[in-house]
């Protein structure tokens, strides 16, 4: 049996290997050195690679992301950790006006091979400014790739590919996944960006999700199985590039679709999936597509309220039943 490690360990291992293999790579972020990161993802790397490669920054997201862009443009490969995805909003000009546009604006002269590692999502009572799911925001901007891994295996393979990119990537981990375990092979591997993964084969309904919601969808599928409903779970793994083909193929088979994300429902990326599916697979749809997302309120602090606001397994089960006309609104 392949060894089991946690999601955080898988990232740490990927960073370790990348730092070892590529001299031009360095890590930059708040409290990632001595301290090892607030979620201990970079634990031990400072001791191994030293302060020249694993660099603690001031609390200055715009400044050090800008610095990372300049370094990336001139031949280095920064991997920047932004402690919480919510803090990217502090540096949004540097990420979206600068990093994402330089290649295009310069007619392809300037490349910004920069990976911004961060973590998002709710589930541990961090409140409204530390629990958001902002992947859809970034996916709206051409010029930056958006990766949201759901398993230890994926997170390692996708991080490897992200660092190999010749342009900016925002790599959004999930705080609630750091301690989840999964099989990760010892040998080196990478997973190409933009390829969705079918996490469970099924014939009755397609559930599309990513990040933590993949596990929720798998749990929902187990419950649905008891009622004789066979769900297919697609993990998009990245929003940019977006693998609609896998989704369309699945919908052509199941004729029903539920899109699940932890981001707020209204204007969430689920709407984009819905739009593409209705356009390219209209004649295969046997019922309306159902979306499951967070309620349209800031994420509340109280754990019970937070749970109510964020999608849960039962919400996915209910949505599938709606999609299958078992429960009609």
């Amino acid at each position: 049996m392949t060894r089991q490690i946690t999601y955080a360990e898988a990232i740490n291992e990927a960073l370790d290997e990348i730092l070892r293999e590529d001299e031009s790579v360095f890590l930059l972020g708040e409290d990632i050195g001595h301290y090892g990161g607030v979620f201990k993802v970079t634990k031990g790397l400072y001791d191994k690679f030293g302060g020249e490669r694993v660099i603690d920054t001031p609390i200055s997201e715009s400044g050090f992301i800008g610095l990372g862009i300049g370094a990336a443009m001139t031949g280095l490969k920064p991997i920047i950790e932004i402690m919480w995805v919510d803090f990217t909003l502090v540096a949004i000009d540097q990420i979206l006006n600068q990093a994402a546009k330089f290649s295009y604006m310069s007619g392809g002269q300037t490349k910004v091979p920069l990976v911004i590692r961060t973590q998002g999502g709710g589930g541990r009572g961090n409140g409204a400014q530390h629990s958001q799911s902002l992947e859809g925001l970034f996916a709206q901007f051409p010029g930056i790739k958006v990766v949201c891994p759901s398993t230890p295996y994926d997170v390692k393979g996708l991080l490897k590919s992200s660092v190999a990119e010749n342009g900016p990537v925002i790599f959004i981990e999930h705080k609630m996944l750091y301690n989840t375990k999964g099989e990760v092979p010892e040998e080196d591997y990478s997973i190409p960006l933009g390829k969705a993964d079918i996490k469970r084969k099924g014939s009755d309904v397609t559930i599309v999700s990513l990040s933590r919601m993949v596990q929720f969808s798998l749990d929902a599928a187990k419950e649905l199985e008891k009622e004789g409903i066979d769900a297919e779970i697609i993990d998009l793994r990245s929003l940019a590039p977006l693998d609609t083909e896998t989704v369309i193929e699945s919908v052509k088979k199941t004729n029903r679709l539920v899109v699940v994300h932890e981001a707020h429902t209204t204007f969430g990326w689920g709407a984009e999936i819905v739009s593409q599916v209705q356009q390219d697979a209209f004649d295969y749809l046997d019922g309306p597509i159902i979306r499951v997302g967070a309620e349209d309120v800031p994420i509340p602090y109280n754990l019970e309220l937070e749970k109510e606001v964020l999608p849960q397994v039962k919400d996915i089960v209910k949505a599938v039943k709606e999609a299958l006309y078992i429960e009609v609104k």
Binding site: S60, G63, A72, M73, Y104, M105
Partner: protein, 329 residues
């Protein structure tokens, strides 16, 4: 606290040959800027035209101390520095006209001029955004142990941006080889900078970050060159950043067509008497290096070069529609 650095009126900083080259550059930028106004008026370019007339002394003075591989980031008022750093006028005009032979294949425009071959990392449309990026390039230079210097030009208004302060702090704590060149032309877009900062000298701000700072007469090309020389030396010798505040004046509005209600004609005319080209030409005449006729002759030759570059751009093709979808990532 500060002494305004000026040149010695009785002696030349440069050799005769170098002085003539400096004069050539000053006049070239002026003629290019004048032709740009014609270009803008003919409706051959989009967006806005942010002119550099009156500030040529800063660009030429600073760049006289830089090597080809030194890095530069600048603002949208960018063609002066580009020419001083060695950019092609043909490609500049072509980019302004959105043509295929432009620096960015017509996809960037005047606000995004980039020429990696001369270390010109990019003009920027966002006030202050290039400052941390230049700091990042300095980071690369330091990390790789090259003796390259990174210079960032920005206006007085940019010193109120967050990234300005963040970048200064980063450069200071990491002793990066960067020269911050603040072109204080007295106006932060359409507002007097005096209304927007409490400091008499913007250079004061650098002191808060323990960065050596000087103020210099920006219309005195020799003085600018001299202070830059010191800054560059410090940077190349691992002495960290320097802040130069060049006091100058924007003889035109923020952009072509600006109603300039924020200042009087008298004020503009007063400053025109301190025009950098006028000052330097007079000095050269007084010291017997050139005559009016020689300057006249030089101006005429430059006009022909500018016209030739302009014609080249006019005859350049429109970019192919395929270009729309290239260089995105």
């Amino acid at each position: 606290m500060f002494n305004l650095e000026v040149s010695d009126p009785a002696n030349l900083l440069f050799s005769k040959e170098e002085s003539l080259r400096i004069l050539d550059q000053l006049i070239t930028i002026r003629k290019f800027e004048e032709k740009s106004i014609e270009l803008y008026k003919s409706g051959l370019m989009g967006g806005s035209l942010h002119g550099y007339i009156g500030q040529e002394g800063v660009a030429v003075g600073v760049c006289s101390q830089l090597n080809k591989d030194d890095y530069l980031t600048v603002t949208y008022r960018s063609r002066g520095q580009a020419i001083a750093k060695g950019a092609s006028m043909e490609k500049l005009f072509a980019e302004m006209m959105g043509k295929v032979d432009g620096y960015c294949k017509g996809k960037g425009g005047p606000m995004h001029i980039t020429d990696l071959e001369i270390g010109f990392l990019g003009a920027n449309g966002i006030v202050g955004a290039g400052i941390p990026i230049a700091t990042g390039a300095a980071f690369t230079a330091k990390k790789k142990g090259t003796s390259q210097v990174s210079v960032t030009f920005f206006g007085d208004g940019a010193t109120n941006q967050g990234v300005f302060h963040e970048a200064l702090n980063l450069a200071s704590i990491w002793k990066l080889p960067v020269v911050f060149v603040c072109e204080n032309n007295l106006y932060s877009e359409m507002s007097p900078i005096a209304d927007m900062v409490p400091n008499e000298h913007l250079a004061e701000r650098a002191l808060a970050y323990h960065i050596p700072a000087v103020i210099v007469d920006g219309n005195d090309v020799e003085a600018v060159s001299k202070v830059t020389q010191e800054a560059v030396e410090r940077a190349r010798n691992n002495g960290g950043p320097t802040f130069i505040e060049a006091k100058t004046y924007r003889q035109q509005g923020h952009m072509f067509g600006d109603a300039e209600t924020y200042r009087t004609k008298e004020e503009v005319n007063e400053w025109k008497k301190k025009d950098p080209i006028l000052l330097f030409t007079n000095k050269l005449i007084e010291l017997g290096l050139v005559t009016d006729e020689i300057v006249e002759q030089l101006s005429h030759e430059i006009e022909l070069k500018v016209e030739k570059a302009y014609q080249f751009a006019l005859n350049s093709e429109q970019p192919n529609y395929d270009e729309i979808f290239t260089d995105v990532f």
